[in-house]
């Protein structure tokens, strides 16, 4: 093996460690205090006091119930709605151009979506009666669905875009149509089963996220009965440091809740799968056509209206002077909010950009090298994998995908506190390094996924040809492969920036509040006195990733223009 090959292998191993170690270490870091061991506060013995303290929390059953209700409810609604949207877009071409509309919701951070929804909905007459802060988690479920539908939708789209699978599935679909099935029924019976198999991990990630998310229930939930994640953050940040012990128990309970919910989901899959098989095999050629068509169309229209309303309302609000309730437009416009907001935002904005650019750079380089080592792997075990995989992915690849999903499946609230404790132990003064590493855990998987598809599709013969002409593996990597996937690199880089920009809890915890970013400031201002200033922050939060994506697109375009000259 050449030094480069060895290096790329080493990077891949490092990447696995980077993803798995912090989660394991962080989990370990909450198990100790949960067992009553926290020497810094004078708790030197292992006992069950912390566990008793946690289970003595008043209304604990309601807290756990609300957590499960919002988590499972939001995932279920998101899945059904996104399937309806995918079906409508898959079956009816004219709809496919509207899918671009969902992109802004994908890149906007959760906290920003929650804030924008408050601006739009809380002064609205009858919606304002229950939105936000209702006791049953309806507001939380609503906001989570708004945010997770685009995620599942685009995950499905990227699965359906894989050429081999696409060819296979559209063959099934056309056969269905020719046998007289209506379009959506054909989709449900012939495409969805294969599609669901491949978006199962993203669905699990949504479930885990919905159960453990902090920003949305913090901004929209009632503080009378909180979700468990909000209660945990409340205890961890309390002046009374002894509350960290029950908070650690809470973090472990939250992790167990996630596992229980995932198992329940798996169990329901079996049961629903059983009935679904009957549905697939019955000869009803229009089964599910009408309800799904209606749901898909209504959701599409609903999302379109909501996004347009959110964007225009937030935009106008940021320039508004007085705006009495009930009037369509404000009495006047002013630049005051923007000048105040931008002046206050300079440092947070700079911090956000530094973190986003650095972590994305690292993530792109690491992902590319990891992918490169994987290609080698495949070439050497080509025959074996050919025999094994039949067009699907190999067991190795599946295991690696699972590893990539670990940070998305283990609740951040649960392992981040432990991780921060560890970071303070290992490098107490390196704030930026701590925050950067915490971001990287979340940025890496997304960057890897964005790159993996196109990198794995590079025709190996280009590389073999170049190597036979005397190019070293390193030069093949730099001069042959990277140019081939350049647009994907630009896109993956922008994706990494968007993910880094949206991180709230990792930034807050790892920096101990000392590195302010636009996202942490926006959440801090959420309950502040000026909603016009909030609007400015929300817009900046939306514009930043948008500008980065556009720049990535422009760079990719000019790259090709130069190449084809």
């Amino acid at each position: 093996m050449s030094p480069f090959e060895r290096f790329s292998h080493a990077v891949k191993q490092a990447m696995i460690i980077l993803l798995v170690f912090p989660v394991l270490a962080g989990t370990f870091g909450v198990i100790l205090p949960a067992a009553g061991f926290f020497p810094a506060l004078g708790f030197n013995t292992v006992d069950t006091q912390a566990i008793h303290a946690f289970f003595a929390t008043p209304e604990l059953v309601s807290i756990i119930g609300l957590t499960l209700l919002t988590g499972v409810g939001a995932t279920l609604f998101s899945l059904v709605i996104s399937i309806a949207l995918v079906a409508v877009v898959y079956c009816y071409r004219p709809f496919s151009s509207t899918k671009r509309l969902l992109a802004p919701l994908l890149v906007l951070p959760h906290g920003a979506v929650a804030l924008a929804l408050i601006f739009l909905l809380s002064p609205t007459p009858w919606i304002g009666e229950w939105f936000p802060y209702d006791n049953y988690g309806v507001s939380i479920i609503f906001a989570l669905v708004i945010k997770e539908v685009p995620f599942l939708f685009f995950m499905s789209q990227s699965v359906l875009a894989q050429s081999a699978l696409n060819k296979q599935l559209s063959g099934y679909y056309r056969t269905g149509l020719s046998l007289g099935y209506t379009p959506i029924t054909a989709f449900l019976k012939l495409v969805l089963p294969s599609l669901y198999q491949r978006i199962r991990l993203p669905v699990f990630a949504v479930l885990a996220y919905a159960i453990s998310c902090v920003e949305i229930p913090l901004v929209l939930g009632s503080n009378n009965i909180p979700t468990l994640s909000v209660a945990i953050v409340h205890w961890f940040n309390n002046v009374d440091l002894a509350l960290r012990l029950p908070a650690s128990v809470g973090a472990i309970v939250l992790m167990l809740l996630c596992i229980v919910a995932l198992l329940l989901w798996r169990g329901s899959e079996q049961i629903i799968g059983h009935y679904y098989q009957r549905f697939v095999l019955n000869l009803n050629r229009a089964g599910g056509q009408l309800p799904l068509l209606i749901l898909g169309t209504v959701s599409l229209i609903g999302f379109t209206i909501l996004i347009l309303a959110l964007v225009s309302f937030t935009g106008v609000l940021s320039f508004a002077t007085y705006w009495t309730s009930g009037s369509v437009l404000p009495q006047g416009i002013t630049g005051l909010n923007w000048s105040v907001g931008l002046a206050a935002m300079q440092t947070p904005l700079l911090n956000s950009l530094i973190l986003a650019l650095c972590t994305s750079c690292v993530a792109v380089v690491v992902s590319l090298l990891a992918l490169e080592s994987e290609v080698k792997n495949e070439v050497t075990s080509k025959v074996v994998s050919r025999l094994m995989k039949r067009g699907g992915s190999s067991g190795y690849e599946k295991r690696f995908t699972l590893i990539l999903f670990i940070p998305l499946l283990v609740p951040g609230v649960a392992f981040l506190f432990g991780l921060v404790w560890l970071q303070q132990l290992v490098f107490p003064e390196r704030l930026w390094l701590s925050v950067g590493l915490s971001h990287l855990i979340y940025v890496l998987p997304y960057v890897f996924f964005s790159l993996a598809h196109s990198y794995r599709q590079i025709d190996p013969r280009y590389g073999q040809m170049a190597q036979s002409l005397g190019y070293s593996p390193f030069r093949v990597f730099i001069h042959v492969k990277l140019p081939l996937v350049f647009p994907s690199i630009a896109f993956a880089f922008a994706m990494g920036c968007a993910i880094s920009l949206s991180q709230y809890l990792p930034t807050l915890l790892s920096s101990g509040g000392q590195i302010a970013t636009v996202t942490t400031e926006a959440i801090a201002l959420a309950a502040g006195s000026s909603k016009r200033l909030n609007a400015v922050y929300v817009i900046v939060q939306g514009l930043l990733p948008l500008v980065i994506f556009m720049a990535a697109w422009a760079i990719a375009q000019s790259f090709y223009a130069r190449k084809t000259k």
Partner: protein, 397 residues
């Protein structure tokens, strides 16, 4: 030879030190007043600068503003001087103080004995009607500190929705019952939240408030809080979100008033309301007023260190600080916006007019508004009240 040089050098140094000490003593005793005051606010610093110019013209006194990061620094300096036996030539003349720092200085005998009644302008605060200027967080001032400024809890309402705002605690109750969902207050973790509870506690125990100015003993606490809990038990179901979701911060209350969801709010800084209106964060129909049954108020004072060599000049400065001119200038929104401790109703017309020059902002507290001041209860009531509230109404996250 070598030893001699050192000895001579040492003698020279001693002589020099004596000179310096002597010089300091003479300078200190002339016309400089060293005003130890927290220096964290540009507005306050500029105001002290202005005061310095004024007293220099009137009395030939210069003020040396020693900008403190924390008032307790000056307290410990005086304490150190006392323990070192420096009883006549201290480095602190005037000190801006209240609450626990005052308590610490008083109990350690670090303050000049009763001097406030000597000041001509002190009578303008109308101490018999406004006993709040004579107590500092439950401690009698004993004439050892003079009131300088005040923050009082004022209420504000949206006149587009509310014609006659409630003027007493009992009117507040009927207002909330008649307009369900239009009022909310922050949890006692917030400064304004706990202040609201204190206001109710005092207002609901009218004529029986002596116990509030002594340490909170369980029996007294139970007796005095009974009417408060009864009041809140009735109030909560009629509040915004039926009192289940409670505001975390007072700033959120202000935002909901801007959203025209709530129509009544309160603040400890009257000056902040017109400036929020100017920033468009509150509607222009907002009006500010003070409760007729009293406003919780928080007075800040100035005191003189017991070992100040310039006590007489310091008193002249304090007398100027209490003059209508200085108090009116301090109250201007563009200067500091700090409320006066004078009873403006007592002032002769020409002086009272000084306070009326500004206040043209329709949302600001009308300058003529008479404020009956409730002094802060004894410091021990704060924690007791907060804990009891959470015990009774449940934790809020």
């Amino acid at each position: 030879m070598f030893n001699w040089q050192i000895t001579i050098g040492f003698l020279k140094l001693n002589a020099l030190l004596c000179l310096v000490v002597f010089a300091c003593g003479t300078i200190g005793a002339t016309n400089e007043v060293r005003f130890h005051a927290w220096g964290g606010s540009a507005q306050v610093n500029q105001y002290i600068q202005w005061v310095s110019q004024q007293v220099n013209q009137q009395h030939g006194i210069t003020i040396n503003h020693v900008k403190l990061a924390d008032t307790s620094d000056a307290v410990s300096r005086v304490l150190a001087e006392k323990s070192a036996g420096n009883h006549h030539n201290g480095s602190v003349d005037l000190i801006w103080i209240n609450g626990e720092n005052f308590a610490a200085m008083q109990s350690n005998g670090l303050l000049a004995p009763s001097w406030v009644n000597e000041l001509a302008n002190f009578s303008l605060t109308n101490p018999t009607e406004n006993p709040a200027v004579l107590t500092d967080f439950g401690l009698p001032t004993n004439g050892q500190e003079a009131p300088w400024g005040r923050a009082a809890m004022v209420f504000y309402y949206n006149s587009a929705h509310v014609k006659t705002p409630p003027k007493t605690a009992h009117e507040l109750m009927s207002f909330v019952v008649e307009n369900p969902g239009s009022f909310a207050y922050p949890t006692p973790n917030d400064y304004l939240g706990i202040s609201f509870l204190k206001y109710l506690l005092i207002a609901l125990n009218r004529g029986n408030t002596d116990g509030l100015y002594r340490p909170a003993m369980p029996e007294m606490f139970a007796e005095l809080t009974t009417p408060l809990w009864a009041f809140l038990d009735t109030l909560h179901p009629h509040m915004w979100r039926q009192g289940t979701h409670m505001l975390r911060q007072a700033s959120h209350m202000q935002r909901l008033i801007d959203d025209e969801v709530l129509h009544l709010g309160f603040s400890f800084t009257a000056a902040e309301i017109p400036s929020a209106v100017n920033r468009f964060d509150l509607p222009p129909t907002i009006r500010t007023y003070a409760m007729a049954d009293g406003s919780l108020s928080n007075i800040h004072f100035v005191a003189i260190a017991y070992n100040s060599p310039n006590a007489d000049n310091a008193k002249k400065v304090v007398n100027f600080l209490l003059s209508p001119v200085a108090q009116a200038y301090k109250k201007r929104l563009d200067v500091w916006g700090d409320d006066t401790v004078l009873d403006v109703a007592l002032l002769p017309n020409e002086d009272a007019q000084l306070f009326q020059v500004e206040g043209a902002h329709p949302s600001a507290l009308p300058p003529s508004e008479r404020i009956i001041m409730f002094a802060e209860p004894h410091a021990s009531w704060t924690d007791a009240l907060r804990n009891a509230w959470f015990e009774r109404y449940g934790a809020r996250y």
